[in-house]
Symmetry: C2
Subunit: 321 residues, 2 copies
């Protein structure tokens, strides 16, 4: 009998959310534990296994489960390990896929990073259904990417491919990135990047703005978004600048893999047309002629609160038992 | 019975070279016709078919031939057509794969562009044997690329993926490219780009150089190479600058697909260590930490005179009959 469900686990620095998902992308049962409370990974996995056991029983037992997919920072699909993730309590290399499988009586587990999980989620349940070539760009605290070529996720020879937040978009006087280099896409187009642009413009310029009522150090991308919605010109311009840099970068991504679509995912994608219009304008201006007008620009179609669990769960369908 | 041979056709602006190739990458019989002499594509295909018939007979007849692979400028794998190739006598869209198949009694024909053919050639007979993830960069009059991910060539949704000569490496004051945009990789690192760098430096600077004996307008990358070999400092520096820009670009390519190797192919690759040392230095400096030291930099292992025919022929093995 075909097993009707998969489990998705979204491992974040604060919470770990997990749920039972059916083939249509509905989350039937879900639960969560607080990642940050477990200093020892063994104790964390025990707590997770307990939570999983509970929802597995609700779903009719483990023979209903085809597989478990995990989306985790620095998760490596090939090794099933998390390697030195900065925002998690456990350092070193954690063989998480094996540990979860062992603690659930041998359900097969596949693991990858958050952005790759998002891409598989879009392909299985979302905006990329039926597509074989597309790129998901995650715009959150950082910028990540999941790249699909010919229907398969691009893992590269080491499992770490798809770091498009770290292509260089400004080679001269580029912003310092958390990775130690300068000019990475993520320093301009993440939520943090938008806040940096706001701070820079407020210093460089003298025009009036709602943002001037805030402490510059505390301005967030949400503040810029709210101000833009309220008609603040400077804030609208900040999103235009952000979109323009994304459009320039997308032109290069298209020269690489010529995707049918580029899909925006994550918190900053909520900016919608504020961002998309200038991405489109910049892309049209910068894209190589042979690709002109061919690549769709889309927003994620996964419901935001469920997206990470759905994305991870989609990996569960891909497991070869 | 397994068919023991394939045919490779290298369609260039001047000559069309074709040969019968065995599974080990030996060219058993070969011949050529002059592309430029045929203003009508029908007449061209008839002449090509006559040449093919002759070598097919030498090989024991068409039931010895598994397939024909064609490498051609602007060749599209999905459609089997050549689209508006600037350097060929025939304009519009030419359904070349079908025409060649029809004129050879139905031997299956696959067609792709030159750089993709080079990549399949390296995977089948050359430096990428056994690899599943690598990139071939062709350094000739232009810069092209063939990208392999998970053992498959990246064609993109439209068959035109892999235009890495046209990623933007200089966003401010970049050189004008033949594509109409500014700052493309190929404007700096093609044979033509090397000659441009030479002309620029000779104007900007006053230091002595063997290149000053030549008419600036006539300087070629070969002149720069010869001068560098003779110890000319300025010429050595020109290759270093070229290699540095390639290394910077390679760091971005690695962030995309994390290849096991990047393989240099084509005329300018003959510069060898003159180029490779500074590529390696720049790559080590610019690559994201997670990829540091992981990607091999290699030269093509296909014999140069045979490389294009071998590359095209390798496509012949891939055809699903």
């Amino acid at each position: 009998m075909k097993k009707p469900y998969v489990i998705g686990i979204d491992l974040g620095g604060t919470n770990t959310v997990f749920g039972i998902v059916d083939a249509r992308g509905s989350i039937l049962y879900s639960s969560s534990i607080k990642t940050g409370e477990y200093q020892e990974v063994d104790v964390y996995v025990s707590a997770l296994a307990k939570g999983l056991k509970s929802i597995i029983e609700q779903a009719g037992g483990s023979d209903q489960i085809k597989g478990i997919g995990v989306g985790a920072p620095n998760g490596n699909y090939f090794t099933g390990c998390i390697d030195f993730a900065a925002n998690l309590p456990w350092k070193n290399r954690i063989p998480l896929a094996r540990m979860i499988s062992d603690s659930t009586g041998g359900i097969p587990v596949a693991l990858t990073n958050d952005a790759n999980a998002a891409a598989i989620g879009e392909m299985t349940y979302g905006a990329a259904r039926g597509m074989k070539d597309f790129i998901v760009i995650t715009l959150g605290t950082g910028v990540g990417s999941g790249i699909v070529v010919g229907g398969n996720l691009v893992y590269g020879h080491d499992g770490f491919a798809g770091e498009l937040g770290h292509v260089i978009v400004r080679r001269e006087n580029g912003r310092l990135c958390g990775c130690g280099r300068h000019g990475c896409l993520e320093t301009y187009t993440s939520a943090t990047g938008v806040a940096r642009t706001a701070k820079e413009l407020l210093i460089q310029r003298t025009d009036d703005s709602l943002l001037r009522k805030l402490e510059p150090e505390n301005i967030t991308s949400k503040d810029v978004y709210d101000a833009a919605l309220a008609g603040d010109k400077l804030s609208v311009e900040i999103f235009e600048i952000t979109g323009e840099i994304l459009g320039e970068a997308f032109a290069d991504f298209i020269a690489f893999s010529s995707p049918e679509a580029i899909i925006l995912f994550g918190g900053l994608a909520r900016a919608g047309d504020l961002l998309m219009k200038s991405i489109r304008r910049a892309l049209d201006k910068h894209v190589l002629k042979v690709f002109a007008g061919k690549t769709k620009l889309l927003f994620s179609e996964l419901k935001e609160s469920d997206a990470a669990v759905l994305g991870a769960s989609a990996l569960g369908w891909e497991i070869k038992n």
